[in-house]
Each structure stands twice: as structure tokens, then as C-alpha cells.
């Protein structure tokens, strides 16, 4: 019991230091910014790759086309929010939602491309395709591992009680200051 309390105390102290939050924000924000910029550089290619999943109906086309137009910007805006530490939890929620939706989709799509009759795990990992993630052709297991790491890191800003090194903290402080002055 005592060991658990100490353990909890350690985690809380670590969280309060703001360091895990800062590292997670930089990692997730940096990755998402990079991936979004790569998509924005060739929107037509992103549209084609989005279509390959067959998740969105082809008719009417507006839904698919709108997704291709908006999705990279959602990633970029959330990346900027995470890097700045502004509306951090909201940005983390969007990122977690995106990862929870697209990661199983990627795994399923790779399964569709997986033709090895022996069904060895190693040959599943050898499936390579352009997932439309912004990194070109990737091996599926590497991509899944990357997404799981991003998901784990994105949960930190979503659940953290700290606001250290965030612009959110400045806003809260200035609001509190204004309220005290009034």
C-alpha cells in the first residue's frame, strides 16, 4: 500500500514538473506538423490515397473531397496548438480521436493487401503501401508501432493535470489576475 502511494506520488510529481507534458507535446505536435505539411504539399495525391480506403462514399463526392481538403489542416492546427500549449487538451482529444479511428483502418487495409496464404506475422509486417499518412510508402508494422507511440504520447496532454510550459497557463494566470484586480 505504501509502495503504491509512493509510486502514485512519484507519477504526480513527475506530471507536476511539466516535463513529460512538454516532451509529449513536442513529439506529437512535431510529428503531426510534419505529416500535415507533407499532405498539404500534394492535396490531390492525398485525395487519391484517402479514396483507396473506401470508407467515405464516392457519391456524393463532396464528403470525400471535403475530407481531403480539411484533414491536413485539422492535423496542422492541432499540431500548432500542441506545440504552443494553447487549448492543449482539445488538440490532444482531436489527435487521440484521429489515431483511434485511422490506426485500425490502416491495419485492416494492410490485411486486405496481405496475400500470403501462410499468414505469418512476419509477412504481414512486410506489407508496404502508401497509407496517405504523409510519409510515402511504409511497412505496416512500423506504421502501427509509430501510431501506437503517438497515441500513448497524445494521452499525456489529454490526461495531465499540469499546464507548465503552456500558453494555457499564461492565459489562466492573466484571467485570474484580471479577476483579482476587478
Amino acid at each position: 500500500m505504501k509502495a503504491m502511494t509512493t509510486h502514485e506520488g512519484l507519477l504526480r510529481r513527475l506530471d507536476r514538473s511539466g516535463v513529460p507534458l512538454l516532451l509529449a507535446r513536442l513529439f506529437v505536435g512535431g510529428m503531426f506538423a510534419y505529416l500535415a505539411i507533407m499532405k498539404l504539399m500534394d492535396p490531390i495525391n492525398f485525395l487519391k490515397l484517402t479514396h483507396q480506403y473506401g470508407v467515405l462514399p464516392a457519391s456524393p463526392p463532396v464528403l470525400l473531397n471535403l475530407t481531403a481538403v480539411v484533414m491536413p489542416w485539422v492535423e496542422l492546427v492541432c499540431a500548432a496548438a500542441l506545440l504552443l500549449g494553447l487549448t492543449t487538451r482539445g488538440a490532444a482529444l482531436v489527435v487521440v480521436g484521429l489515431l483511434l479511428f485511422f490506426t485500425p483502418l490502416l491495419a485492416l487495409h494492410a490485411w486486405g493487401l496481405y496475400t500470403d496464404p501462410t499468414r505469418h506475422f512476419a509477412s504481414y509486417c512486410a506489407v508496404k503501401f502508401d497509407c496517405g499518412c504523409g510519409t510515402g510508402e511504409v511497412f505496416i508494422c512500423r506504421k502501427l508501432a509509430e501510431n501506437i507511440a503517438l497515441l500513448a504520447a497524445a494521452l499525456i496532454p489529454l490526461l495531465s493535470g499540469s499546464k507548465r510550459f503552456c500558453l494555457d497557463a499564461l492565459l489562466v494566470r492573466s484571467r485570474a489576475g484580471a479577476a483579482a484586480a476587478a
Partner: protein
């Protein structure tokens, strides 16, 4: 509870900002703009497109064979293989514009290498190309359309657009093996933008 509501509203605001930015930048993108209402992936239907046209029949009763789309074919256009494409390329008619090669790929792969003399017609940015392409292919005896090869369907879509622009079905040929087959065969390659 308040914290959850605050997080959700932050997320909604971020998505709304992103939607606004996405739509605004898309509107001013020029060549890379995505037309929200355009169905980029609808398979062309030559049987329907040629239904009111001059040559829909596959066989006329008292004359020579008049080519037309076969509704049961896996591909709705005449397909040419690598050897035939090479023959057409070597034919003097290629030099006189009677046989025209149309490359359906985007700028970057086209400029890295294409069939010499091919005219570029990037299907996804067709508004920027169709006029110059029609200038080249109207009146041509044979128009060979290709893209990357493999699963690529851009050439198929360009065939549909050409048919839509009054190019007769009988003069449109789909080179399914595309750039990959041509390049792997070691045939002549031209780099850079299309010739004027």
C-alpha cells in the same frame, strides 16, 4: 465534468478553425485546387457516352466493322499492349501528329520521364490541360493514353474525358502497362516538360 465539456469545446473550435483554413486555402490554390463537387473517381461509361454518338455499334450489317464499346469488356476502351505501342511510336505517323501519346500523370513523374513527344494531361488537374490536349488530339488517327501502369486508373479516366470531348471512341487506345512497362523495356525516354 466542466473539464470534459471544456476539452470538447476546445476540440470543436480547433476543427472549425481548420475547416475554415482548409476551405480558404483550397479556394486560392490554383492548379492544386480540389473541386468539392467533382466526382474524381467515377469510372467512365463509354456505352452511355456513345449512345447518342455516331459510332456505337460494334458491327454494322452491310459495311466494315465499326468499333464501339463492349458493355461486357473489363475495360471499356480498346487496350493496346507494349509491343503495339512501340510499333505506333516507331511509325512515321507519330512524327506527323497522326498518332498521339497522352500521359495522364502529374507534373513530377511526367517531368522525370515520359514517352518522347507525349502530351501531358493530368486527370486531376484536367481543366489546365484539356484545351492544349484537344488541340493535339482532334483529328488524330490514334490517341494512346497511359499513366503509371499497375493499378493506376488515371489513363482510364482521361480516356473518358477525351470521349466526353468528342474524340471518337474508335481512335482512343488505353495502354494499360503504362509508364512502368515502357520504362522497364528500355525504350526511349524524354524528360522535362512537354514539347510546345
Amino acid at each position: 465534468m466542466k473539464r470534459v465539456a471544456c476539452t470538447i469545446s476546445q476540440a470543436l473550435v480547433l476543427v472549425l478553425i481548420a475547416t475554415g483554413l482548409g476551405l480558404a486555402t483550397n479556394a486560392v490554390r490554383g492548379k492544386d485546387r480540389i473541386d468539392l463537387r467533382r466526382d474524381y473517381f467515377r469510372r467512365p461509361d463509354p456505352v452511355r457516352l456513345t449512345a447518342s454518338g455516331p459510332a456505337p455499334a460494334t458491327q454494322s450489317a452491310d459495311g466494315p466493322v465499326r468499333p464501339g464499346p463492349d458493355p461486357n469488356a473489363s475495360l471499356p476502351f480498346q487496350v493496346v499492349e507494349l509491343a503495339e505501342v512501340k510499333q505506333l511510336f516507331d511509325d512515321p505517323k507519330s512524327g506527323t501528329g497522326q498518332y498521339v501519346f497522352v500521359d495522364a500523370r502529374a507534373d513530377e513523374p511526367f517531368q522525370r520521364g515520359h514517352i518522347p513527344g507525349a502530351v501531358q494531361c493530368d486527370y486531376y488537374r484536367i481543366d489546365f490541360y484539356i484545351e492544349s490536349v484537344l488541340n493535339r488530339v482532334l483529328g488524330a488517327e490514334k490517341v494512346v493514353v497511359y499513366c503509371n501502369g499497375g493499378d493506376c486508373e488515371d489513363s482510364l479516366h482521361v480516356c473518358g474525358e477525351l470521349l466526353n470531348s468528342q474524340i471518337p471512341w474508335g481512335s482512343i487506345f488505353l495502354f494499360k502497362g503504362g509508364w512502368q512497362e515502357w520504362h522497364q523495356a528500355g525504350y526511349p525516354v524524354e524528360t522535362g516538360p512537354a514539347r510546345e
